[in-house]
């Protein structure tokens, strides 16, 4: 497909979408810590074997690290003591580590804060968030246009595929428009750096409108340009390229999700 590409990058988009769909669905179906850890391991092994861009993943993880930490703290403090047993909810591994009983961990006066179950619940949420971010990296190891083609070959309407692609396309444009508005306001004497927090907030709020207007105008012009190139002029559409799945792609689509489902069944006793 892509001449010089290696690893995940030369895999068809469909197995990658299947992997992400399976892992993100399964991780919402259970609080079993052992399974969540196993799923995260499976993702890392896949990324490593597929020579993924770990530097990029690290950067993205760093930005959500704060989010995960704060969610963790808030959840573990405010979670109510669990009604079911730890082994039942979080699985045997969690029960073994915590000793299996829901004990308060911090006491302030007569008030018990932070229960074992709170920490476990927070861990589940953090793991789920990580799984979503890491599985997205599998999908990101590929070209936007291949996903678009995959969508249309899966018989989804091409308008939908275009919408997704246009959305991705507009992220940098949004940024460009924001910078544009920023420079314009700077030229007109708005000082973003020195003024007080209140003035600063006001200045940044002033960016929103020109940014929105600029982006909408671009979107408008773009849609005119698409019409001018004959979009929807005919009852259907053909495609220059066609994605074909080779044996590796087919195997990856079937085996990876199936193996994960098997691990899920075993670890959650279903």
């Amino acid at each position: 497909m892509n001449a010089g590409a290696r690893g995940l990058r030369c895999l068809d988009p469909r197995p990658k979408l299947a992997m992400m769909a399976t892992v993100s669905t399964l991780c919402l179906l259970t609080e079993n810590i052992a399974f969540l850890l196993a799923a995260l391991c499976a993702l890392f092994v896949t990324l490593a074997a597929g020579r993924a861009d770990f530097a990029l993943l690290r950067r993205r993880c760093r930005t959500i690290f704060i989010l995960i930490i704060s969610l963790f703290v808030i959840q573990s403090i405010f979670a109510a003591p669990a009604s079911k047993s730890i082994a039942e909810t979080y699985g045997g591994l969690a029960a073994a580590i915590t000793g299996g009983s829901d004990t308060p961990l911090i006491h302030i006066g007569g008030l018990s804060l932070l229960h074992t179950s709170g920490v476990l619940l927070a861990s589940v949420l953090a793991l789920r968030l990580l799984i979503v971010v890491v599985s997205a990296q599998i999908v990101l190891e590929g070209e936007v246009r291949d996903y678009m083609l995959a969508f249309t070959q899966m018989k989804l309407p091409y308008e939908l595929a275009f919408m997704v692609v246009m959305g991705l396309h507009f992220l940098p444009i949004l940024r460009e428009e924001a910078l544009n508005a920023y420079h314009c306001m700077q030229l007109r004497g708005v000082d973003f750096k020195k003024s007080s927090p209140a003035a600063k907030t006001k200045a940044y709020a002033g960016l929103c409108l020109p940014m929105l207007v600029g982006t909408l105008r671009r979107a408008d012009e773009m849609s005119v340009a698409m019409e001018l190139r004959g979009l929807r002029a005919m009852p259907g559409r053909t495609y220059m390229r066609r994605l074909t799945m080779n044996s590796v792609d087919i195997a990856a689509t079937l085996i990876w999700p199936a193996a994960l489902v098997a691990v899920f069944m075993i670890l959650t006793n279903r």
């Binding site: 246009r145 005119v224 019409e227 001018l228 190139r229 979009l231 002029a233």
Partner: protein, 302 residues
């Protein structure tokens, strides 16, 4: 290298001509159903008493007290098939508006009050076609694009796919051409405009001139009968301008109708007609050697 480039271009243009011909047949059968006019029509573009006023913003006419703020007024134009016309005039005189009327952007997408009628290959695209009072759109710009393609002034606004080759393929894909045919067309058109080594690159990495070339290739691959260019050589260097001149000559050779809007009229001395515009009106339309030089070099720009 040069001859290779030309060969590539020629095969691209010939194949597109073939498809355009098939398309003309479709068009003819379609218009027979609607109004009975056929492909024997001598004019590619006909405008009768065309006037237009944007419903928003100020325009040329508003500077003159007591007059409506029109952008086009009383435009009568008949451009024969297979000719090259160049529209010349000062900025704001209505050149872009004229091209918008030829592609159905006006009145389908940009609103305002339109008078008169516009016909492409004998088929009315805007006018009083549905019998109501006032002019209206009869065909949408996407349908019109099968007959007339426009390269807009701003290349950034007409490139939207994530690779150069996908962007060139966008038009032929919309016309439902066969995949092999689209690939051949993309290869030939990219070679013609000088972008064959950039096929899988992201268009945003192209230079201004590169984007201009890509925008041209996109319309070329769409293979309409009528090609409209809004200030196409502005961002191009000398080799780009030479490429454009060759392109126009080859397109003319295979019977395409071409309208170019440009300030630097001297380099288009090979055109069949120079159309001079001022304040939304056509003040002269004649072959280059019969055009009033005094008008062209002085009066027009004042």
């Amino acid at each position: 290298m040069k001859s290779d480039q030309m060969d590539g271009g020629r095969s691209a243009i010939e194949s597109s001509s073939r498809r355009a011909h098939e398309n003309t047949n479709n068009e003819a059968s379609r218009s027979q159903v609607s109004d009975g006019e056929g492909a024997s029509e001598p004019f590619a573009i006909e405008m009768n008493g065309l006037g237009f006023t944007y419903s928003s913003g100020e325009s040329e006419g508003s500077t003159r007290a007591g007059q409506p703020a029109f952008s086009l007024r009383g435009v009568n134009l008949a451009i024969p098939k297979g000719t090259v016309s160049v529209v010349i005039g000062p900025s704001g005189c209505g050149k872009t508006t004229l091209l918008r009327c030829m592609t159905g952007i006006i009145p389908s997408i940009i609103k305002g009050s339109l008078f008169g009628s516009v016909k492409l290959n004998g088929r009315e695209i805007a006018g009083r076609g549905n019998g109501e009072s006032g002019s209206s759109a009869i065909a949408g710009p996407n349908e019109i694009s099968l007959t007339a393609g426009l390269v807009m002034q701003e290349p950034d606004h007409q490139i939207f796919m994530t690779t150069v080759e996908d962007d060139i393929a966008f038009g032929p894909e919309n016309r439902m051409a066969a995949p092999g045919e689209i690939r051949a067309e993309v290869n030939a058109c990219s070679r013609f405009v000088g972008l064959p080594s950039r096929l899988t690159d992201d268009p945003s990495t192209l230079s201004g001139g590169g984007k201009q070339r890509l925008a041209i290739a996109g319309i070329l691959a769409s293979a309409p009968d009528i090609l409209l260019f809004d200030e196409p050589v502005g961002g191009l260097d000398d080799s780009g301008r030479a490429m454009f001149a060759t392109l126009i000559c080859e397109l003319k050779e295979i019977g395409k109708t071409i309208v170019i809007v440009e300030h630097d009229y001297e380099e288009f001395s090979y055109a069949d007609v120079w159309i001079l515009m001022k304040h939304g009106e056509i003040i002269s339309a004649a072959p280059p050697n019969e055009t009033d030089r005094g008008l062209l070099e002085g009066e027009l720009w004042r």
